[in-house]
């Protein structure tokens, strides 16, 4: 391959990965967060088992929320509701506070030092730190 083809190929790959990035979910924390929890620890935070960081949930079940819970906690919407009903009706937990959408999660995580959230990676700014992305 000549260098032109190389370049074309590289640009094609970049734009392809850019479109893939659009659909990724980014798990974000405040830039001042001291530790970087692993994916399993993030699952525990959003299942209310680990309170080292305060999770910011998305209010309605949307594609971002679906991708986050199915890949991090292996739970779809009804499995997640079943899990929480076991905690709510035994007084062992209340679902995490939630906000309206990606931008609201971003704003809250950017504003609060111990907040952690998940958003569509397209909305990520340098106000937050990305822990990892879910393809």
């Amino acid at each position: 391959m000549n260098s032109f083809m190389h370049r074309t190929f590289a640009i094609a790959m970049l734009s392809l990965s850019a479109t893939l990035v659009q659909a990724e979910v980014a798990v974000i924390v405040n830039p001042s967060a001291a530790n970087a929890p692993s994916q399993a620890e993030v699952a525990n935070i959003f299942l209310g088992k680990d309170k080292s960081l305060s999770g910011v949930d998305q209010k309605d079940w949307n594609p971002t929320k679906d991708k986050f819970y199915t890949s991090v906690a292996n739970k779809n919407e009804s499995q997640l509701k079943s899990y929480w009903s076991g905690l709510i009706f035994t007084g062992k937990g209340q679902p995490l506070p939630s906000v309206g959408d990606d931008t609201a999660v971003l704003a809250k995580v950017a504003a609060e030092a111990d907040a952690i959230g998940y958003v569509d990676s397209s909305v990520v700014t340098d106000q937050v730190k990305v822990l990892f992305t879910l393809p």
Partner: protein, 352 residues
């Protein structure tokens, strides 16, 4: 730097109280089951359910129930919760206050509660009425008909400790349940019972990938009409696993008292195919000194209709051998004490 530390501290304090309900804040949640069940077999008339209901026909009152829970933030870290459940017991519909307590969140690890609570004697004891939280319509009768008492008045403490492999949860409780009625199959009727000094301790380890392992021990002084005072001990060891597609539940219990020693267990496995969950359960019930045994196979199919409604169907085949009456024969005087029967249950579990 100092400012930053102060800010960090303030955020920390704020987030601690944010885990509980804010003062003046309230939440209402509900759950229910609408289901019919048919218990048939050799001599339908002697079929009795776990709550002492005759089940000679399709019945809607054995599994159906409706519950509502209200939680209110009383003050910082202090909340009040009441849960009432409408259900039928011994052929009578009634409204039972199952939970009514004040909870104080000491910190992120420790919660103290006082009031009417449920003892965590068995793995599903605290969610007995919330069918949406477990896969069956009928919890395995062999284990759950051995439950000592569904609620008590007292105190408990919940302590959760993050460890490298997951989370350790401890729960201890102390209290009493007086003037209760228990259905005694052998007498074909209810007796008054007082549970004094009900003490329960449980420990569970929720791992990241290997499910949750749980052990609990319950002890109580009982004063049972006609039988007098004695001590009862209940032990349970159980395991739950759910990776999103495979689902398993297993539990073995032991109930000891001067009236007898009972050991029973169940093993359940299921696999999700989209919105469908077929599952199978084997359960067994042995009593010391009894040559016979009750055992059952249950086959179920669940369908997730909406994220808040699950349709469930179950077929359960129960067999008891060598004159062992088990949980479905009301009277020792009947000619055929054993029970071989088919239990069919169809319905829906929901939350709102």
């Amino acid at each position: 730097m100092n400012k930053r530390n102060l800010l960090g501290l303030a955020v920390c304090l704020a987030s601690t109280s944010a885990m509980a309900l804010e003062p003046g804040d309230y939440r209402f949640n509900g759950f229910g089951t609408a289901a019919i069940t048919h218990l048939g077999g050799a001599g339908d008339a002697k079929g009795y359910g776990i709550q002492g209901q005759t089940t000679d026909a399709w019945r809607g009152d054995q599994l159906s129930k409706l519950g509502g829970q209200l939680s209110y933030g009383v003050a910082d870290r202090l909340s009040a919760t009441i849960q009432t459940v409408a259900k039928a017991e011994q052929d009578q519909w009634g409204l039972e206050v199952e939970w009514a307590y004040l909870a104080y969140q000491l910190n992120n690890q420790v919660t103290l509660r006082a009031g009417r609570l449920r003892p965590g004697a068995f793995m599903f004891s605290e969610t007995l009425d919330v069918g949406y939280a477990y896969p069956w319509l009928r919890l395995p009768d062999e284990v759950y008909s051995q439950m000592p008492v569904s609620n008590y008045e007292g105190v408990d403490a919940l302590y959760s400790l993050p460890v490298s492999v997951g989370t350790l949860n401890f729960q201890v409780s102390y209290g009493q349940a007086t003037d209760r009625e228990v259905f005694i199959h052998g007498l074909d009727g209810p007796l008054d019972v007082d549970f004094k000094e009900v003490v329960t301790g449980s420990v569970s380890l929720a791992t990241m990938n290997l499910g949750t392992l749980r052990y609990s021990y319950t002890e109580s002084d009982l004063n049972l009409e006609l039988f007098g005072k004695f001590k009862g001990k209940f032990e349970s060891v159980g395991h739950q696993y759910d990776n999103g597609s495979w689902l398993t539940n297993a539990e073995a219990i032991k109930r000891q008292s001067p009236l007898g020693t009972i050991e029973s267990f169940y093993l359940m496995a299921g696999h999700r195919f989209g919105d469908y969950l077929p599952h199978v359960t084997y359960a067994q019930w042995d009593e010391k000194g009894e040559p016979g045994r009750q055992s059952s196979w249950a086959y179920g199919l669940n369908y997730s209709l909406t994220p808040s409604v699950t349709l469930k169907g179950e077929y359960k085949r129960v067999e008891s051998t060598r004159g062992f009456s088990g949980g479905f024969v009301p009277d020792f005087s009947v000619a055929d004490r054993t029970f071989d029967g088919d239990i069919i249950s169809i319905g829906a579990d929901f939350i709102f």
